[in-house]
């Protein structure tokens, strides 16, 4: 009976993986095809690369592919970071935004923009984003710890408080510089989150961080499953809790830092997506992490594609994801309340 159940689970996981993979491939292909340059010209020039007669810049190789890589990395990073946080803190509300990690990364990036370091040193942005994210995560974590244990009931409140504080500092900086409206406009565009004009520079800023972060989360996916049971249980089952947690913190900071550096602030994505995946697939992180990578990439790519196809210039991808994510989160909350009212019967 159990074996039949496991086989069905595996089949459903496989089916879901195939569906999402197809969606990702379709969206990616459309992203690569969509552009102002006729595809025929683009392709001819790509072929010319082999005999060295091509133009030094090609819309596909130098614009659309790097943009697609950035989009895929960002979607996967945010979704996985959210899933890991929720499992680590055993709290469905834990996410990079709610715990203030994005705000921490964002604050240091704002400072980099203000000091104009990014003009001379492009890698100052990912370093600032990573450092800010990690420091904030550690700060929230240490504040929530009491008696050697993380107080889960205070974790979210601490995160919200730290997030508010960091946001207030950022707002104060922006208020103090309100008359430098060109800088304010730059920061506003960055804060809104955008995938416009992402080239290899952005790929280089993000990809190493994302690769390490995703590998780390994937590597520890079994431990995350055990940690989700609680610290004591994890210790009893032989997990080196402190070491694994610290490494996962580093991975989350790398993922969020990379995403913030290349795309800007994307709210709600990391909170909602793991819920959706868990809702469909179940809570096992063993499957959740790889699936989050796929679903995150596919949904972010689809969102960007939609925005481009509809030529919506008034809103950025950050705005859209925040709106959609907020609505989805409300729906999820309402759904879970109804689920509780029904005594847990679906």
């Amino acid at each position: 009976m159990i074996s039949l159940y496991n086989t069905q689970k595996k089949r459903s996981f496989l089916k879901l993986n195939i569906i999402i993979s197809v969606l990702l491939v379709v969206c990616s292909v459309f992203t690569l095809l969509l552009g102002d340059t006729p595809w025929q010209l683009v392709w001819q020039d790509v072929l010319k690369r082999f005999d060295g007669t091509a133009l030094p810049w090609n819309p596909l190789l130098d614009e659309r592919i790097p943009r697609l890589i950035v989009i895929i990395c960002t979607g996967a990073s945010l979704a996985v970071a959210g899933a890991v946080m929720q499992a680590l803190f055993q709290n469905p509300l834990a996410s990079p935004n709610v715990l203030g990690i994005s705000c921490g990364g964002g604050l240091l990036v704002v400072l980099v923009f203000v000091l104009e370091w990014h003009l001379e040193y492009p890698f100052a942005i990912p370093i600032a984003a990573f450092t800010g994210s990690l420091l904030t995560l550690l700060f929230v974590y240490s504040l929530s710890r009491s008696g050697g244990k993380v107080q889960l009931n205070t974790l979210i409140l601490t995160g919200i408080a730290v997030s508010s504080l960091l946001f207030a500092i950022q707002a104060a900086i922006m208020y103090a510089l309100r008359d430098r409206w060109m800088l304010i406009q730059t920061l506003t565009e960055w804060e809104a989150g955008s995938t416009v004009d992402r080239d290899w520079k952005h790929v280089h800023m993000q990809l190493p961080l994302t690769l390490v972060g995703l590998y780390g989360c994937w590597f520890y996916r079994s431990e995350i499953d055990i940690l989700a049971l609680g610290e004591e249980e994890a210790k009893n089952l032989g997990v080196e809790v402190e070491k694994v947690r610290w490494r996962l913190f580093l991975c989350v900071a790398l993922l969020i830092g990379g995403a913030i550096a290349s795309v800007g602030m994307i709210a709600f994505f990391g909170l909602v997506l793991p819920h959706l995946v868990r809702y469909v697939q179940g809570p096992a992180n063993h499957h959740l992490i790889p699936l989050c990578i796929l679903v995150g990439s596919a949904s972010f790519t689809a969102m960007d594609l939609l925005l481009r196809m509809l030529e919506i210039h008034a809103l950025s991808i950050g705005n859209i994801s925040a709106i959609l994510g907020g609505v989805a989160f409300l729906v999820l909350m309402r759904g879970s309340r109804r689920f509780l009212h029904m005594g847990g019967r679906r």
């Binding site: 614009e63 060109m182 565009e189 004009d197 080239d199 280089h204 210039h313």
Partner: protein, 419 residues
């Protein structure tokens, strides 16, 4: 070394190595910093003129006149009209001239301002001055007395006042206006020590302004504080065209009892724009007569990303004046984004447009120039390859004041190499 340290060292080396390879390589390929700036172009010797003679419009002269040199305004208006007549005589069609009555009016105003006795001039002004006017918020301001203490809360009003009244009549300046030293010299703004700030309410009260120029976007608390202090408020329109700027200028002239000065400045703005149009005409005419394709100009703003101004903006209207040269507005039109203020444009789209001239309004021009010249796609643009990449002062381009003339001058100056 323990295994744990090895793991961390490997990860750190991986990331740092990646960044070193990715970013170091680029910096070693840096081109020499040959920023083709507007200043550089302005300093170039003017090219030898071909018949018909070029209309000489000098930036410094323009700036001086726009800053309130009334005699220079009147002189330039006449000079430009004579130049336009010469161009017409050489057979150049589409030459623009001020309407005769405006030209005449400018000279009458000059005589009033420079030859009439002060008392007599005051009487003429009082007779000419409106008795009341309605501001953009619908409030009627009675002009039964002569104000002498002004509080410009907006850049446009401060800019007009600095050009039209002595500095001792201006009680304070908007925050950060004095940073724009390229328009408002430090020695001029230093004469007005007070900044308009919400924290300066008491100091402003002590300065006893009689009338404040505010806008719809002014902070409600500031407006309320001024009202509480018994200051008369005049709400200015947010100008979105040169006509709006002129209309606000004339209204302000009546309020500050300088109707003639304001009118002369208004006529000067019109005359300068026409002179610049004619200048552009002399640049493009040889191309038309020799059937040479007219080069294409793309104008971009740059903050975090590139964008094109639409016809709704003043920059867009300046581009519209440039006619066939400009391809920016046509691009906005084809994407049906005319109702927006700005239309984002990505690098692929810019590369597809491949303009002959690329003008960018930006702040960090050195860094942007470097980035463009390093970018595999952008550095292949005709404009970049032929050194027709120009950076213009963003604060001037977007300034809804009399200095919009300078913005247009800067655009045309970039095209100076057209011949």
């Amino acid at each position: 070394m323990s295994n744990i340290l090895k793991v961390y060292a490997f990860v750190a080396l991986f990331v740092i190595g990646w960044w070193t390879l990715a970013f170091k390589q680029k910096s070693s390929n840096d081109p020499s910093p040959t920023l083709i700036s507007l200043a550089e172009v302005s300093n170039q010797e003017p090219k030898p003129s071909v018949a018909p003679p070029l209309i000489n419009v000098k930036r410094e002269q323009l700036k001086l006149a726009l800053a309130g040199d009334l005699a220079l305004m009147a002189q330039l208006i006449v000079e430009w009209d004579i130049n336009a007549q010469i161009l017409q005589q050489t057979g150049l069609s589409s030459v623009k001239r001020l309407p005769a009555h405006e030209l005449l009016r400018s000279q009458i105003l000059k005589r009033h301002l420079f030859t009439t006795a002060p008392d007599e001039l005051n009487i003429i002004k009082q007779n000419h001055r409106l008795k009341s006017l309605t501001d953009d918020a619908g409030n009627t301001i009675t002009l039964d007395k002569t104000f002498q203490r002004y509080l410009p809360q907006t850049y446009i009003s401060a800019s007009f006042l600095l050009a039209l009244v002595p500095t001792d009549e201006i009680v304070a300046l908007p925050r950060c206006l004095r940073e724009h030293e390229q328009l408002y010299p430090k020695d001029l703004t230093a004469q007005i020590p007070l900044d308009i700030d919400r924290y300066n309410a008491e100091k402003l009260f002590q300065a006893q302004p009689e009338i404040a120029f505010v806008a719809h976007y002014s902070h409600p608390a500031t407006i309320q504080a001024l009202l509480n202090q018994g200051v008369i408020l005049y709400t200015m329109k947010n100008p979105t065209s040169i006509e709006d700027i002129s209309a606000e200028l004339l209204q302000m002239g009546h309020i500050i009892n300088r109707p003639f000065e304001a009118e002369l400045l208004k006529i000067f703005i019109d005359a300068a724009m026409l002179a610049l149009d004619n200048h552009l005409l002399t640049l493009t005419r040889p191309l038309i007569t020799t059937h040479t394709p007219i080069p294409q100009l793309l104008f971009l703003n740059h903050h975090q990303n590139f964008s094109i101004p639409t016809p709704r903006t003043i920059s867009g209207q300046l581009l519209a004046r440039m006619g066939d040269l400009d391809i920016s507005l046509a691009y906005v039109e084809t994407h049906q984004q005319s109702q927006e203020w700005m239309m984002p444009i990505d690098k692929e789209q810019i590369i597809n447009l491949d303009p002959d001239y690329l003008i960018i309004a930006a702040e960090a021009t050195q860094a942007l120039n470097k980035e463009i010249r390093q970018n595999m796609g952008l550095k292949q643009l005709k404009a970049v390859r032929n050194n027709h990449l120009y950076f213009v002062d963003e604060s001037i381009q977007h300034s809804p004041t009399q200095y919009i003339v300078l913005a247009y001058f800067d655009l045309i100056q970039c095209m100076a190499g057209l011949q």
